[in-house]
């Protein structure tokens, strides 16, 4: 008979142990994937054509959604900033607020979240389907390295694409914010950029781009890792894709929270 006092305690420790085990397993597998990718790159096993294809999918095809997201982020920041500052601060501060918000936080974070949905989920579902339909096994049986063919091009493309998309989002977000400030509050372009320049630090741009490089690495690495771990049929693919999206979003938010203490002190 189960001991009514010990069992919940043992059960709790068992749960913690399982969570610890799963976390270590994921961490180990992510490390191996990153190492295999580096080896594939160094040994020139990665085809340029595959990287180019992924650059197109991740970069060029993401431009419309990044444009919309960045525009709306700039517009909303400008409107809400104007509303908050109207009676307490000089109007040019709105330029500072919009530019700093977009460059430091909104462009990298929102672009990353958009890419999790557009690219991360796609990669996990695509590779997961390849696992359950034995295409990954087929690659191996034919002497091909799935990491070199499938993982490395996506990871390289993610790291290269993300900073470019964030740069694009910066420009769009700032201009959308500036136009909104002009339409909404009559704040001219010169006044807006006067405020932006007044508190501008070049470091902020580096800070935002550093975030984007890390996010650009995290999204494909996690999505590839989760895709290649898929088990079961269509249900397994769906479940793994959902978990991958959750895993990516959480990781991005945690990394985002770690950046200010590490780089803005």
């Amino acid at each position: 008979m189960a001991n009514p006092i010990v069992s919940p305690v043992v059960g709790w420790f068992a749960k913690v142990g399982r969570a610890y085990h799963i976390t270590l397993e994921h961490a180990g597998a992510l490390g191996i994937l990153a190492w295999d990718t580096i080896v594939a790159l160094v040994t020139l096993k990665v085809r340029f054509r595959d990287v180019l294809r992924q650059l197109h999918i991740m970069g060029v095809q993401s431009l419309p959604i990044v444009f919309v997201t960045a525009s709306l982020a700039g517009i909303v920041t400008s409107q809400q900033g104007g509303y908050q500052l109207i009676s307490s601060s000089p109007r040019y501060v709105l330029g500072t607020l919009v530019v700093q918000s977009v460059v430091l936080e909104l462009a990298p974070l929102l672009t990353a979240v958009v890419l999790v949905g557009r690219i991360g989920a796609r990669i996990t579902a695509e590779l997961g389907t390849m696992v359950v339909s034995e295409q990954i096994d087929a690659f191996k049986s034919l002497g091909r390295d799935p990491v070199a063919i499938l993982a490395a091009p996506r990871i390289v493309a993610g790291v290269l694409t993300m900073p470019l998309l964030v740069g694009f989002a910066n420009v769009i977000g700032i201009y959308a914010g500036m136009l909104m400030a002009d339409l909404d509050g009559g704040l001219g372009k010169e006044t807006f950029f006067y405020g932006a320049r007044l508190f501008w630090h070049s470091w902020d741009l580096f800070y935002g781009f550093s975030k984007s490089v890390v996010f650009g690495l995290v999204i494909p690495v996690i999505s590839v890792h989760m895709g290649l771990r898929t088990r079961g049929g269509a249900e397994g693919v769906g479940l793994q894709t959902t978990q991958a999206v959750m895993f990516m979003i959480l990781t991005i938010l945690i990394i985002d929270a770690l950046f200010p203490p590490l780089m803005l002190q």
Binding site: M130, E134, Q135, D137, A138, K140, S141, L142, G143, R144
Partner: protein, 254 residues
Amino acid sequence: MISYKNIHKAFDIPVLSGVDLTVETGEMFALFGPSGTGKSVLLKTTLSLIVPDIGDVEVDGMSVYDGPSSNLEKIRRKIGYVFQHAALFDSLNVYENVSMGLPEDEIARMRTADLSRRVWEALEIVNLEPREILSKLPSELSGGMKKRVGIARAIVGRPEILLWDEPTTGLDPINTAAVERLIQRLSKELEVTSLLVTHDVEGGLHICDRVAMLHSGTLRFCGTPQEFRDSPDTVVQAFVDRAAAIAALDMAIV
């Protein structure tokens, strides 16, 4: 020759428990057994697609797990693997899929015309008309055609051994018979060693030199088709009777 030595594998529960099996060079060998007894798992250990917990596989004297890592590369070149559902690469057309069956370094050394000729020949061997399907994507092919393209991909590299993982699964009886004839013809024409995992017991008994049966993760029987039919083992007999009943039902439907 393929030798499976004391293969153990568990996925939460044991699937294979100490399987020893040898497939001789040039022989056509069928592996039977109910679903979930580890037939495909055993087949996949040959190419390290699934790594056994204990045991080793030797292909022509080369160890897959105890030897140098270069062994696996050499073994993979010797073997053509036909997957249960063809496992064609979705984003590649038929030409690209079949040419993937050739080693990368061989493709790099080949002229485009030679590569095309090899792909063309492989498709003709499996009774497909290359001109009509070369540029088609797998999603544009029927189930039977996908299987044939999968077979063409497995044989284009001129392997010495062919592993067939339930090649007739999901096919109607007419296509099943056609694929069985193809397996038999290819094994004879290409002079390869064939290891066939199948649920189609009647077909396997008809075309193979020797057969084996896995039951509950262990090897229950190994011998000639006639010995299999005449086996006094009640488990084997029940399996043969059930398979015969299913085959009769299939024929009645046809």
